[in-house]
């Protein structure tokens, strides 16, 4: 086959073989042709998937979520399991890499045949796995606050959507008489979408946005941005930075002589765990917007905090995404038991109206959106690293991922 002709022949054969096999494709465009893989519930256990980044840049946040899910699984198993079956968790590492998330989601669904998957943190990882879950008609419980504008039939969103976190945060600033804000965020979907909402809100509510800056994810150089923030003389800063960038931002912010008194910062991605990583000397007095704090009163929370610390160590704090993940597992259990089956469609049908006495207070699953009605809470970071509530919405806010009930947001979605 050294002859040129021989090689041409080989090449041609390859192409023909490829074309022939490729022609077996089916042109059916019927959207419903996707085959659902049903969960394996034949034994006396039922598998659930845990999909979190255990390595890479996002591991700093996602490992604690995995820990929290494991706690919920253990609690449920200790109480007899779900429909008489013990839960068997299967953990996979998304490795902070979106295609890996998609690969692992597929693996959990088609190889392990799990009944539901809990996990994902970044919007990008959720967007990457969304088609996988929709194609396989499998369930994902997503436990992190996010940018809204999404409603997949196969995802339950147990974190806050924008009208349960960002809008209340803005309401609070407005009530405090803040007239101008500066927006700082990481360069990805959540901050950019959040800031779009903030700008629409500001326009409708007589606030001015003095500037808007984005840093690449993982960026730790904030000298310039803080300079801009300081010279803007804004009344407050709305901070949608994620992960490591927050540490650098607040260290720089403090060095520049800015404080919670002179220019408060409202953060939506800093929970107790992050406070520990940044250092209270840089954060004391700053504000956060969440639905849960370790200090949130109530018996359910006391039990959750005690159980978590007993399992993982007294110095480990609990935070909103951890709580949302913990709630997700319990909600799934309640849905399955109401449906009397692990079948995805039956679970979905049973979901609406399910309530759970969560550590954050009573939460209710909103059937149509598959989001959760949650109470918004604004907190202030204390010198002890804990966050104490300074304001709450009084009652759970009905989720509105597309902000349809807010006239000022009509141009957004």
């Amino acid at each position: 086959m050294t002859s040129f002709r021989g090689r041409i022949l080989a090449g041609a054969l390859t192409l023909v073989a490829t074309a022939a096999l490729a022609a077996c494709g089916s042109k059916t465009t019927d959207a419903a042709s996707g085959t659902g893989v049903s969960a394996d519930v034949s034994g006396d256990t039922v598998k659930v998937g845990l999909l979190n980044s255990l390595s890479g840049t996002m591991a700093i946040s996602e490992v604690t979520v995995r820990d929290s899910i494991m706690l919920a699984v253990e609690e449920i198993n200790a109480a007899g399991g779900v429909l008489g079956k013990k839960i068997q968790p299967v953990s996979e590492d998304g490795a902070s890499d979106w295609p890996t998330f998609a690969e692992k989601a597929e693996k959990l669904i088609s190889q392990d045949r799990v009944a539901a998957v809990f996990g994902c943190w970044t919007s990008a990882s959720r967007k990457a796995v969304k088609p996988v879950f929709e194609r396989n008609k499998a369930l994902l419980f997503y436990p992190v606050q996010y940018e809204g504008l999404e409603q997949s039939p196969y995802i339950f969103y147990t974190g806050a959507t924008t009208n349960q976190q960002i809008v209340p945060g803005l309401d609070y600033l407005k009530a405090q008489g803040k007239k101008s804000v500066y927006l700082v965020g990481s360069d990805y979907v959540f901050p950019r979408t959040a800031n779009k909402i903030i700008k629409a809100y500001a326009e409708a509510n007589g606030m001015t946005v003095l500037g808007e800056d984005y840093a690449p994810l993982g960026s730790t150089e904030f000298g310039t941005i803080v300079n801009k923030v300081r010279s803007s003389k804004a009344d407050a800063v709305f901070n949608t930075l994620n992960g490591d960038s927050n540490v650098a931002f607040f260290k720089e912010y403090t060095s520049a002589g800015l404080t919670a008194e002179s220019m408060p910062v409202v953060s939506v991605s800093i929970a107790e765990e992050e406070v520990k990583g940044i250092g209270t000397q840089y954060l004391t007095g700053q504000l956060t917007a969440w639905n849960y704090y370790q200090t949130t009163p109530g018996a359910a929370n006391e039990k959750f905090v005690a159980a978590y610390k007993a399992k993982y160590g007294a110095e480990k704090p609990t935070s909103d995404p951890m709580e949302a993940a913990y709630v997700a597992v319990h909600l799934w259990k309640a849905m399955v038991e109401k449906a009397g089956s692990f079948d995805v469609e039956q679970v979905r049908a049973a979901a609406g109206g399910i309530t759970f006495e969560a550590p954050e207070g009573t939460v209710t699953v909103d059937g149509p959106t598959q989001h959760i009605a949650k109470t918004a809470r604004i907190g202030r970071i204390g010198a002890d690293g804990l966050i104490t509530e300074v304001w709450n919405s009084g009652q759970p806010i009905t989720p509105d991922p597309y902000l349809k009930s807010y006239p000022w947001a009509s141009g957004l979605s």
Binding site: M1, T2, S3, G6, R7, A10, G11, T14, L15, A17, T18, A19, L21, A22, A23, C24, G25, S26, T28, T29, D30, A31, S33, G34, T35, L54, S55, S91, E92, D93, A95, D97, W98, P99, A102, E103, K104, E106, K107, S110, Q111, T122, S123, A124, K127, A128, K130, P131, V132, R135, L149, D187, Y188, V189, R192, Y214, P216, L217, G411, L412
Partner: protein
């Protein structure tokens, strides 16, 4: 470009010493053909029958990475250019394909979903428009990366930026590309990338049958690229490329222009990476900056190093092996698999420089990297070579290690 005289498409003259460079160890043409047939049988018959839909789609993904590896094998293994920015070309090809598929999904005149959500655009940006046509988008998946490689390559090679300098520069290119893509969220999807691709030229990707079809297209393309690479390596140009790797100045003295020789290999590697990226999109259904940056770019190269950089099949096997190991290890040890991955890189690269190919004795070829001799037979070197600026920083090839004593003497004379 003036002095490249080697026609790239020519077969070597069998009379001229019967260049024994083959797919398989000590293989004659017949065994090469047999090896090719075996590979085709494995890919087209055994794998589809033996693997589940899920594993087959993973294999499709690995094979895409293997295509990138073929290109790196040429540029680095044969040409000595350590390209740590192949992710850029992979991404360009992937984005070109994904842009077309997104537009096809949206339908004529409609905007892709993410633009409506995040970009709030009323109409398609001008640079998206041509991608609506498959006649533009498909060639672009290969030509766009090649054009970028040509632009950058002709700048840096002509100025003799090479060795570590080139490696770091190509790495910085990957970083810059990611930052650029992430910053333009409304039109590129930002960190999310382009996701949720539903159709592939009219075939619904949700259907397992069509996933299988995509696999066959990928496997066929891989085999075709292997043939192309073999052709290239065996041509006079291939000889010249190895000569440039092992002694750029000597080639220059012979009247060739090393910059052009390197440029061709770099551009070809970029084209292969682009094609791989384009096929990755229907196989995985997503392309995002996460596939472009520094980490995936290094992982591409490590696959090649693990497999055996200067051989033809080594990079392919290495890329598949590394990707497979990553999947298998992370499934078994989700908490600690990076230890094993890191250890694997360290052990193979440090103690088995010829890669897995050297273990099984694949392709003992003239023009191969001399370091590929089995490690226990290698001469222990006392004095570090390639140190300071006084000795050229070569790519994979280390001529000092095997050049005759006479030449080493001459070199010392030059540097002293």
């Amino acid at each position: 470009m003036s002095t490249v005289t080697a026609p790239t498409g020519r077969t070597p003259d069998p009379a001229a010493g019967g260049r024994r460079r083959n797919l398989l160890p000590g293989a004659g043409p017949a065994r090469a053909a047999a090896g090719f047939a075996l590979g085709a049988a494995l890919l087209f018959a055994v794998a589809p029958l033996a693997l589940s839909d899920f594993r087959l789609s993973l294999l499709a993904k690995y094979l895409c990475l293997a295509m990138v590896a073929i290109g790196i094998g040429i540029a680095w293994g044969r040409g000595g250019m350590l390209t740590l920015g192949q992710g850029v070309f992979f991404g360009l090809g992937g984005y070109a394909m994904a842009m077309h598929l997104k537009l096809a999904d949206a339908g004529p005149g409609e905007l892709p979903d993410f633009m409506q959500l995040y970009g709030q655009l009323d109409e398609l940006p001008w640079w998206w428009r041509p991608f609506a046509s498959p006649w533009f988008a498909l060639p672009a998946t290969v030509l766009l990366p090649m054009a970028v490689a040509f632009g950058l390559g002709s700048l840096v090679f002509r100025r003799k930026v090479r060795g570590a300098y080139f490696a770091i520069l190509s790495q910085a290119l990957a970083m810059a590309m990611v930052i650029l893509l992430v910053g333009q969220q409304g039109t590129t999807g930002g960190t999310n990338g382009l996701t949720d691709i539903q159709g592939f030229f009219g075939y619904a990707l949700t259907d397992p049958v069509n996933q299988r079809m995509v696999y066959f297209v990928i496997a066929g393309t891989l085999l075709a690229l292997l043939l192309l690479a073999r052709q290239l390596i065996q041509s006079r140009y291939g000889e010249l490329l190895v000569a440039v790797r092992d002694g750029e100045e000597r080639v220059r003295f012979l009247g060739y222009d090393p910059a052009s020789v390197k440029l061709v290999a770099y551009v070809v590697a970029a084209g292969m990476a682009g094609l791989a990226g384009a096929l990755f999109v229907p196989a995985v259904g997503i392309i995002s900056p996460a596939m472009i940056g520094i980490v995936p770019s290094i992982e591409f190269v490590i696959g090649v190093a693990v497999g055996g950089r200067a051989t033809l099949l080594g990079p392919v096997l290495g890329a598949v092996a590394v990707a497979w190991a990553k999947t298998a290890l992370s499934e078994r040890f989700p908490g600690g698999w990076t230890y094993l991955q890191g250890l694997m890189f360290v052990l193979v690269v440090a103690f088995l420089p010829g890669g897995l190919a050297a273990l099984v004795g694949l392709g003992r070829q003239r023009g191969d990297d001399p370091d590929r001799r089995r490690w226990w037979r290698r001469r222990r070197r006392q004095v570090p070579a390639g140190v300071g600026t006084t000795v050229p920083v070569e790519g994979a090839g280390t001529p000092e290690a095997t050049d005759g004593a006479g030449l080493a003497g001459a070199r010392t004379g030059v540097t002293a």
